[in-house]
């Protein structure tokens, strides 16, 4: 398979040498791929703005020993151009990209579910279907679910007792009943737990009506849960600008 073609979303780019870039992308069928785009930083480059982060592209790659090489690229959806016009959308999109990069550690291992989730998240962001902060939190919760770290919001994470429960522990994996609560558990508002459940289930009618204070609490829990499982910081998260004008509270 010296040359192959696939759809991909660009996660991030790194400068290489004088005029090249290493493009890290999540492909539909080949998982995470890192490839060199030669001469992309020159103004005469045929790649142009196609390989900017967040863009969905149809890409042709030549397989290499360590890194592949981009030989052709066509734009399918230029999410980067739309996202960079709105700071909240852009920062949320980059946090999604960094999380995807961190969750998928191995190259060339198919991650179709994550690809579809990322595509759906970016599309919802640029179409402004919901508040960018809510879309991001929903994406993070669902990404963790795909990765096998699904948090339990409506049942006790330890004894599976039906909730709602008052305590929440990141280390235990979700809500805890009064019998199972452990030291260090937090007690978020019931509305926050309910919002988290709605974001995991995709119940946007409920999520859109949530108050600002519960959204803030929920995003803190989501970030803590994500970074505890990843065992490292997602740097983009602290730069995410959460809109205040779109929240109900």
């Amino acid at each position: 398979m010296p040359t192959y073609r696939d759809q991909a979303i660009v996660l991030h780019t790194n400068k290489l040498g004088e005029a090249d870039r290493i493009i890290t992308m999540l492909t539909r069928n080949h998982g995470k791929v890192r490839a060199v785009a030669k001469g992309i930083r020159k103004s005469t480059s045929r790649f142009g703005a196609r390989l900017e982060p967040l863009n969905l592209v149809d890409v042709q790659l030549h397989q290499g020993r360590n890194l592949d090489t981009v030989t052709g690229v066509e734009t399918v959806a230029a999410f980067s151009a739309q996202a960079s016009q709105d700071y909240s959308i852009w920062t949320a999109g980059l946090a999604m990209a960094e999380t995807t990069d961190r969750i998928i550690s191995a190259d060339h291992e198919p991650a179709n579910a994550q690809f579809l989730l990322f595509y759906g998240g970016l599309k919802a962001l640029v179409e402004e279907a919901h508040s960018p902060g809510l879309i991001l939190d929903s994406f993070l919760i669902r990404s963790m679910s795909i990765a096998g770290w699904a948090a339990s919001f409506d049942r006790c994470a330890k004894c599976d007792a039906t909730g709602p429960h008052r305590w929440f522990s990141v280390t235990s994996g979700g809500a805890l009943c009064s019998e199972c609560k452990i030291p260090g558990s937090v007690t978020p508002a019931p509305e926050t737990i309910s919002l988290l459940g709605a974001l995991l289930a995709g119940d946007w009618a409920s999520a859109d009506l949530s108050l600002d204070k519960y959204r803030k609490e929920a995003s803190g829990i989501v970030a803590a849960h994500l970074q505890w499982h990843l065992e490292r910081e997602v740097r983009s998260l602290k730069h995410v600008e959460r809109r205040k004008d779109e929240t109900v509270g």
Binding site: S43, F47, S80, T91, L94
Partner: protein, 203 residues
């Protein structure tokens, strides 16, 4: 692999950006074989570089004086400030000879994945420069990539309320290129930023 000082020099040169092991080896052997004055001059310049070269207190570009040549020049238009990411962008715009205002170097662009937020850039200094009312227009000339565009969006939102005109340098098709090879975003920008060259009905 070489030994001693020569290998130490190759290792140090190899740490420089864009210099790989082979290139480092070539440079080191070239220095070794050149006449004694060449490495002496190079060493002297390297030693005084960080002591003598600083950043302009006004615009942030590289300068040997407290203020750079452009900020000291009374003939430059004080009503326009061109905002760029790096000092090398000042040189690039100066080469065009099309701009007679002053500059402001941000020191990079907003890049959340590299943990660079607005607080790490020289945005506060830019806002301070706008306080005296002399500046009428801020031209944002950050790179035409996603980080540059987002930085531009952020700046426009924060500078607009200060009462100055905020403009963005045009993006579009490059001179000498073929339209058919241009990407969709570039063509889109070129169309939205088109200019009228003849007004219909006027003879």
């Amino acid at each position: 692999m070489y030994e001693g000082i020569l290998q130490d020099l190759i290792d140090e040169l190899g740490k420089l950006p864009g210099v790989g092991p082979k290139m480092a080896q070539r440079i080191a052997v070239h220095i070794l074989q050149s006449d004694p004055e060449t490495p002496k001059k190079l060493a002297e310049l390297l030693l005084i570089l960080q002591d003598r070269v600083n950043f302009c207190e006004m615009c942030g570009t590289v300068s040997e004086e407290a203020q750079c040549r452009i900020c000291r020049d009374p003939r430059r238009d004080v009503s326009q400030i061109c905002v760029v990411e790096e000092s090398k962008d000042v040189i690039a715009i100066e080469r065009s000879r099309e701009f007679n205002g002053r500059y402001h170097v941000l020191g990079g662009s907003i890049n959340p994945s590299q943990d660079i937020g607005p607080g790490q850039l020289r945005i506060k200094e830019l806002i301070t420069r706008l306080q005296d009312g002399a500046v009428q227009e801020v031209i944002i000339a950050t790179d035409p990539d996603m980080e540059g565009e987002a930085t531009s969006t952020y700046l426009a939102r924060h500078l607009g309320p200060l009462g100055v005109t905020v403009s963005r340098i045009a993006t579009g098709l490059q001179m000498g290129g073929d339209l058919e090879y241009a990407d969709e975003v570039t063509i889109g920008r070129a169309l939205s930023g088109r200019r009228i060259i003849s007004q219909g009905g006027i003879s």
